[in-house]
């Protein structure tokens, strides 16, 4: 079995192509424009009004309408390691979505439990960067979750620095130092999660980074950062053969499609009467002009 990576990005506001952005289509990690985090191959799956608490919980639990495309689904199974990173404004027990609604820590804990019961994850690394972020993982009760928060209950998470060209603070402290650490991690890196958990001491972050390891079964000192951050493909060799059924799914699959048949025997059933086609009159006003 080979693992594959799936990234679901939910961004509520359009920052990169906002008319106020003096560098269109670019979002930098600092005012010196060091790294363009928006990149050339970014794909935002949920954007604008689609970023709601309901959609987030649906993506996590997999309860999406049947017409949802694959790129908008989590597609995880019981062997998947999931990294969940949330940031925004928050408080004691909640995180704000779109300035109009909130997700509470209890809802989040229940969502993770639903995922566990349906075997939708193997391990979860939950990183949250908001004010009083610790409160968001305090209510979790499902196994195999490692929680990292940028601040304790009662503390505010602070922004790092302002970019005078744009006029807003461009990055938060915890995210800035975490990004700095992760930029040095390559797919072959042997850095462990315990090194990642120490990434922002109080001197740099001003707030205290909180960690919750009681639900996580492995020792963070022995877990590689690439287990969550890289799509390192593990291949499992199996001595058994697997027969694949030919579903023949290329269009409207009716009952007759399910039976396997050869090109000759199938063709008569699918014969649609071909119609003669031609270029059509684009401007059908003649009939109305004649009336006058």
């Amino acid at each position: 079995i080979a693992y594959f990576s799936q990234i679901i990005l939910m961004i509520a506001d359009d920052m990169a192509c906002n008319p106020r952005n003096p560098r269109p289509a670019m979002v930098f990690n600092n005012a010196n424009e060091q790294i363009n985090v928006y990149g050339h191959d970014v794909e935002v799956d949920y954007r604008g009004y689609e970023v709601t608490v309901e959609n987030f919980i649906r993506v996590m639990t997999g309860r999406l309408p049947p017409s949802t495309p694959r790129s908008k689904r989590l597609l995880s199974d019981d062997r998947s390691n999931i990294l969940v990173y949330m940031t925004g404004h928050g408080g004691d027990g909640f995180l704000k979505f779109q300035d109009a609604e909130e997700i509470s820590s209890i809802e989040l804990a229940d969502a993770f439990e639903q995922m566990w019961q349906k075997q939708r994850y193997h391990e979860v690394l939950f990183i949250i960067d908001t004010c009083q972020a610790e409160s968001m993982y305090q209510k979790l009760y499902s196994p195999n979750i490692l929680g990292v928060a940028s601040s304790r209950v009662g503390e505010d998470s602070l922004s790092h620095h302002v970019d005078s060209a744009i006029g807003v603070y461009v990055i938060d402290r915890y995210t800035y130092y975490a990004l700095e650490f992760l930029e040095k991690v390559t797919p072959e890196s042997k850095k462990t999660l315990s090194q990642f958990l120490k990434v922002c001491p109080k001197s740099a972050c001003v707030s205290t980074v909180g960690v919750r390891t009681d639900l996580f079964q492995r020792d963070p000192k022995k877990v590689l950062v690439t287990d969550f951050f890289g799509s390192v493909r593990n291949v499992e060799l199996s001595p058994y053969t697997v027969t694949l059924n030919d579903t023949g799914d290329t269009g409207d699959s009716t009952a007759s499609d399910r039976e396997t048949c050869s090109a000759d025997s199938c063709a008569p059933k699918k014969k649609i009467q071909r119609k003669k086609m031609s270029y059509v009159d684009q401007f059908p006003v003649e009939q109305f002009l004649k009336r006058r």
Partner: protein, 594 residues
């Protein structure tokens, strides 16, 4: 480094197709048209055409893919799509100043599709199609549900080959638009991946998001239709055109000069060409390069210069063959002799301007001005408008005035809106006399929505999509669109033989932003606080008053412990008061004595 890889892939691909015995007859062309505009802007239009000689009516054909993108082909086959036109645009095309683009697109997202003849349950197929496309292009197209979709009857006939019966049956057509949709790198990324050479070779290496989004206008287009492959249209094929149109403004960065080059527009030279492309051309429209006062010089010199006559209009093109570029790379550059001379724009034959009228939050009006600038020729236009249901249009207020004088339109097709079910569709056929301004106006009422129906940024307002004006021009001044039967821009040159004297033109107006009466969303909190306070104070007091029993207290009876202490304290106070009073009295008596 990338080129040998692509060559290897190409050979592998062709080798594999030979083995499988399936001949995938598709042809890919890439072209770039650069047109400097009189206003100092530079219009660049990329067109990537994949023509696939398969019969659209046979379902099994959509199983083996060559250059035609598989991800898009599977979606089109699964949802029985006959024709699809999707555009994602950022910015407004200014017809009055810039003339006509190759393909017109409104700001935001616009999607219209014709479904195949025997399609059942078209509404479900449309809903699944928009969901699939929203995943494919990273746009929130899934909001194009029934409440935002219409079936126009007169506009948007199939642009490609179609069954004549279907073409006049608008129940197979669905049109929707989202004017508030923004376009950014995440839309360009999957669009680029549909190209056979991705961004590794050819003209698509120019797609750097940092440069492409720093423009006055940016439009991505995906257009899929059937085409006739022979004169009698006995055999048909399908054609996919991916277009990217950008309008730059060089004078802003270059101190007033309209100089442009590949390096300044796209950030790099053209160093390779897509090996799977049949041809790769760059066309520069040099028709405007006539006057000695203001002209530009192209370097390197073009491979050939040709003049195309189309409907009485002569256009001169400088053509470069990108497959024969020099080894150091091609950096096409134009140098002007002086700064831009800004002058009154020469508007094209037809342009439009649309805006909202009225004040307050109760009602308003939509007015569209249609300008026919030609001194001699009358124009017949189809004016189509789609308005969401919460802007209640009043049909009886529809007024058409030509230069101030009221006129009746030739024909009106009006589908009334239904609350929370469908938008209002209005198609009007108008005759615009030569050299006149026509004003189409209609009044509306603003609705007070239910509080859950407001978006998170309710005070921003609600968008109304562009109106679409379709007409047929008899001469091609400033017209750059392609005729129905041709697919490549280079074919603009061979249109000397084009006997058609009619040019279909479609333009889009501005979008509108309507503010609806918005409630104060903090009110539920305020109301709860107020109500609870009133209840606590009012109810508590009233309950106390009405249920309290007044009984006489016997002063001699044994009272409680606390009241005993209170009485003792009271008595002590009385004694001390009496003492002080006595002392004062004695003091005063003594004073009197002394």
């Amino acid at each position: 480094m990338a080129a040998p890889m692509i060559m290897r892939l190409f050979f592998a691909g062709s080798f594999l197709s030979l083995i499988s015995g399936v001949h995938v007859a598709d042809v890919f062309n890439e072209e770039l048209l650069i047109k400097p505009l009189d206003s100092g802007h530079v219009y660049a239009h990329f067109q990537f055409t994949t023509k696939w000689d398969i019969d659209i009516q046979t379902q099994q054909n959509f199983t083996h893919y060559g250059l035609f993108p598989k991800s898009l082909g599977e979606v089109l086959a699964k949802y029985s799509v006959h024709e699809l036109h999707l555009s994602l645009t950022q910015g407004l095309w200014r017809h009055r100043i810039w003339g006509y683009p190759v393909v017109s697109a409104p700001p935001g997202a616009e999607l219209w599709a014709w479904f195949k003849r025997d399609t059942t349950n078209i509404d479900k197929k449309w809903s699944d199609l928009v969901n699939a496309l929203s995943g494919l292009f990273c746009a929130s197209l899934n909001f194009m549900d029934k409440t935002a979709t219409v079936s126009p009857k007169l506009s948007f006939r199939p642009l490609g080959a179609a069954d004549q019966w279907i073409a006049t049956n608008s129940t197979y057509l669905r049109y929707a638009a989202m004017p508030g949709e923004m376009v950014c790198t995440e839309n360009l990324t999957p669009w680029k991946k549909l190209l056979p050479c991705d961004t590794k070779a050819g003209l698509s290496t120019f797609f750097k998001s940092g440069k492409l989004y720093d423009t006055s206008y940016h439009s991505l287009g995906v257009y899929y239709k059937s085409v006739c492959t022979d004169a009698e249209c006995d055999t048909t094929g399908v054609e996919l055109v991916q277009s990217l149109a950008v309008v730059y403004e060089p004078p802003v960065r270059q101190g007033g000069k309209q100089d442009w080059s590949f390096k300044s527009l796209f950030g790099r030279f053209l160093t390779n060409s897509c090996p799977v492309a049949e041809a790769s051309h760059i066309l520069v429209d040099i028709t405007g390069n006539k006057t000695l006062a203001y002209h530009f010089h192209l370097s390197p010199p073009p491979d050939r210069v040709e003049t195309a006559t189309r409907g009485g209009d002569k256009r001169k093109f400088a053509i470069y063959d990108a497959k024969k570029r020099p080894p150091s790379g091609l950096n096409l550059a134009a140098k002007y002799n002086r700064n831009v001379i800004y002058k009154q724009p020469q508007p094209p034959q037809l342009h439009a301007h649309r805006f909202i009228t009225g004040f307050g939050q109760e009602n308003g009006g939509i007015v569209t001005m249609l300008f026919n600038t030609d001194p001699k020729e009358n124009l017949t236009v189809i004016y189509m408008e789609m308005v969401p249901w919460f802007i209640k249009m009043y049909f009886h207020t529809l007024k058409v005035e030509i230069d101030g004088m009221q006129e009746n339109p030739l024909h009106i097709h009006y589908v009334q809106a239904k609350d929370r079910q469908q938008p209002c569709l209005m198609e009007v056929i108008l005759k615009l006399p030569a050299n006149t301004t026509t004003k189409v106006s209609i009044d509306f009422d603003r609705t007070f929505l239910k509080w859950t129906e407001y978006p998170p940024d309710a005070n921003h307002g609600f968008y109304v999509t562009s109106a679409v004006v379709s007409t047929v021009l008899s001469h091609a001044g400033q017209y750059t669109a392609l005729p129905q039967h041709s697919d490549k821009l280079i074919s603009l040159l061979s249109l000397n033989d084009d006997i058609s004297s009619e040019f279909l033109l479609r333009i889009h107006t501005e979008t509108l932003l309507v503010s609806l009466p918005t409630p104060d969303f903090s009110m539920p909190y305020n109301v709860i606080c107020l109500a609870c306070t009133v209840v606590a104070i009012g109810f508590g007091s009233v309950h106390n008053l009405t249920t309290r029993q007044f009984i006489e207290v016997d002063p001699t009876k044994n009272k409680g412990f606390l009241s005993n202490i209170k009485d003792k304290l009271k008595r002590k106070k009385k004694e001390t008061d009496a003492k002080v009073h006595k002392e004062e009295k004695s003091d005063s008596i003594e004073e009197k004595k002394s």
